[in-house]
Symmetry: C2
Subunit: 77 residues, 2 copies
């Protein structure tokens, strides 16, 4: 089954990439944009039929590889 994960920077961690996107958008005429923060998204195909098992496997993967828990949070959706 397919599991989707979003990895985002924790609040308070600087996001220069998001800032650059925000400034570009402002420059393009989208002046109402106050903040942009960029994160990562993963679509993971797990060979496992039980949803809870697949999700716990993906959680393990996030902790070990996909997210840097010092500065990032992850959310399985």
């Amino acid at each position: 089954m397919k599991i989707k994960v979003i990895v985002t920077l924790k609040n308070g961690v600087l996001d220069p990439q998001g800032k650059a996107i925000q400034q570009t958008l402002n420059g393009m005429g989208f002046e109402s944009i106050k903040e942009v923060r960029q994160g990562k998204y993963f679509d993971i195909e797990v060979n496992e039929n039980e949803e809870t098992k697949a999700k716990s496997k993906v959680e393990d993967m996030c902790k070990k590889l996909l997210a840097n828990l010092v500065i990032e949070d992850f959310k399985i959706i």
Copy 2:
């Protein structure tokens, strides 16, 4: 209000980054992972109280800057 956007590669477009993640996960013992595809995630703070207006603004931004519609799809969530 905060609008979230996911930008993913279209089906059929090669994703070497996702492939590398999949192979690394397989090598770490997660052998049940069949495919990983990576995308981008944006958290956008729009200075607009009406949800439909904010979303239509973000859709416009996706088409003009955030997504390359030749190879990518976007989803506002």
